[in-house]
């Protein structure tokens, strides 16, 4: 009862005037920049209500509670993105429904967004610099113009997938954003090879791992913390398709996709591909930055039972993503017009560092399989187009399931092996189709 009263009081007071409410309820006066607590006024009171000290109180905007109260994530849209399902607005995370991923090259507006922290606002390419340091012969600091001038500029279609894509299917649930199938994209990225830049700096023989840093801010507001800082072994960094990219589909990179400069390490969990890139350091150990562990972007070394407790020491870093595919046409729920019994279904398939060699579809829940036509990728690490003509024997409800096989003979499973953080769900995608007559 007491809490009910407090809840109503807060709402009403903040509706009238948030800063007055701050002062009335907590005795808070903000600094001139409308943040923090002037001479500590109200800090103790607010701390008492939230039951804790507020270490980053200097950053806390005045009127925070009502501003956040009015959070309307349903109405929240991301400028320059179209049709994405927003999972979270702070940090911003949004995925693309499968039927909006039909293009061979994913339009910027349809590229998913996965942020660990708060995206920087000052993202002008002019004056942006990239530092290369650590175990190199000659540390460098390069502008984007210098990257373009000094190194060969290449453009590839490259698949990027979030390591947690498909997490929503895990049971017991795995913590994190509940991605379904849409945290995958295949835009064309223009940039220079990371390998060329590292070679120019001179890679010392002790270097075994990269460490990436970006300009995004940790959610807590603590400037000493990185939002995410991951890395990769040197062999992946030296792959000719691992880029330092400055254009997406020939355009400036979208702010939420890492403008003006990012790594694209295709086929690996997206977090390897640091956005808003400012620094690459070479190290003589596996990088231990934010989200490198103990569980982030890691899975158990051995199969575990659903819900099983797994010790931190049993987790290993995810490298290549597994073989996977999507049905991008038709949209699930499609009904064939009367007198139509056949349908072209199509989509994309990809396999992390590997290539997809076969594609099959079924309309009878896996009793029989039909081989689909599969195109070669335009370049290594691009997803591959597949299509199949289906004929339906009779009126009714059908599900189409699609299954890719990679060059090592590994197929997509019906269901994924459970793991505590809900990574690497490459189970088959499925859609529903109805045949009228």
């Amino acid at each position: 009862m007491r809490r009910q009263t407090r809840e109503r009081g807060l709402c009403e007071l903040y509706q009238q005037d948030p800063e007055v409410a701050d002062e009335l309820i907590f005795g808070r006066k903000a600094h001139a920049d409308r943040r923090g607590f002037l001479r500590g006024a109200g800090l103790a009171a607010m701390g008492a209500v939230v039951g804790a000290a507020i270490p980053f109180h200097r950053n806390m905007p005045s009127g925070l509670i009502p501003a956040a109260l009015a959070e309307e994530t349903d109405g929240f849209t991301i400028a320059g993105k179209d049709g994405l399902r927003v999972l979270n607005d702070r940090p911003v995370n949004a995925e693309t429904p499968a039927h909006l991923l039909d293009d061979d090259v994913t339009p910027i507006a349809r590229h998913f967004v996965r942020n660990n922290g708060i995206a920087p606002t000052d993202i002008g390419a002019e004056g942006w610099t990239l530092k290369i340091d650590g175990l190199v012969g000659q540390p460098m600091e390069l502008t984007i113009a210098e990257l373009r001038e000094r190194f060969e500029v290449v453009r590839y279609a490259l698949q990027l997938e979030c390591g947690g894509n498909g997490r929503a299917a895990f049971n017991p649930p795995a913590s994190g954003n509940q991605w379904t199938v849409g945290a995958i994209a295949n835009s064309e990225w223009t940039g220079v090879r990371l390998r060329d830049v590292l070679n120019a700096a001179g890679v010392k023989p002790e270097a075994i791992y990269t460490a990436h840093y970006g300009a995004d801010q940790h959610l807590s507001g603590d400037p000493a913390k990185d939002a995410v800082s991951r890395g990769m072994p040197m062999w992946k960094a030296m792959d000719p398709h691992t880029l330092i990219a400055f254009e997406q589909n020939g355009q400036p990179i979208h702010r939420m996709n890492g403008a003006p400069l990012r790594i694209v390490a295709p086929g690996w969990p997206g977090s390897t591909s640091q956005k808003w890139l400012t620094r690459i350091q070479l190290r003589d150990q596996v990088h231990d930055g934010q989200k490198m562990g103990p569980r982030s972007y890691r899975t158990p070394r051995y199969p575990v039972a659903p819900g099983e407790e797994v010790p931190d020491s049993a987790f290993q870093i995810i490298e290549s993503m597994p073989v996977k595919s999507l049905i991008t046409y038709p949209k699930s729920g499609h009904t064939l017009p009367v007198d139509h019994r056949s349908l072209e279904v199509r989509g994309h398939a990809w396999a992390g560092d590997e290539q997809v060699t076969q594609m099959h579809v079924t309309t009878d829940f896996g009793a029989t399989w039909q081989k689909a036509e599969l195109e070669s990728p335009p370049n290594r690490y691009s997803w591959q187009r597949w299509r199949a003509q289906l004929r339906f024997p009779a009126k009714g409800y059908y599900e189409i399931w699609a299954r890719a096989t990679d060059n090592k003979g590994r197929m997509q499973p019906f269901t994924v092996a459970w793991n505590p953080k809900g990574y690497l769900n490459n189970a088959m995608h499925r859609i529903a189709v109805r045949v009228e007559v």
Partner: protein, 136 residues
């Protein structure tokens, strides 16, 4: 700043609608109700949970989860140890866990769970496997 003002304005309207409705005995509009505290379900300790969590991230992240009380506890520990969250006193932590474990336990599946092919974006059904009971 512009973004915050926009949210604030929207919230004022939604909140005011609710207040007016309550004042004259109408039932409050559904939108106004569900938007309060970022959409967190009503219940004891809702304000506390909202205030603590939304200091760093949207409660939309909270509402996507389904975890046991022990997992929630471990998650709070992780946020304190690694993500800069202030440490809670025992009483507050217990109240927060009460709310989270009541409303967002493992049976809470906003994005997943067994669904038809039209649901959850076409995810294959996870077959609700439970660890097998060892035979005697």
């Amino acid at each position: 700043m512009a973004v915050r003002r926009h949210f604030l304005a929207a919230g004022l309207l939604a909140g005011l609608g609710g207040a007016l409705a309550a004042g004259v005995g109408w039932s409050a509009p559904a939108a106004a109700q569900s938007d309060a505290y970022g959409g967190l379900p009503e219940g004891e300790n809702r304000v506390l949970v909202f205030a603590l969590c939304s200091g760093c991230h949207s409660v939309k992240l909270v509402m996507q989860q389904g975890m046991t009380r022990a997992k929630w506890d471990a998650t709070l520990d992780w946020m304190v140890e690694q993500q800069g969250m202030p440490e809670l006193d025992a009483q507050t932590e217990s109240e927060v866990l009460d709310y989270l474990a009541e409303h967002f336990n493992t049976d809470h599946r906003p994005g997943g769970g067994p669904q038809g092919a039209g649901g959850a974006g076409g995810l294959s059904p996870y077959n609700s496997m439970q660890p097998m009971t060892p035979t005697e």
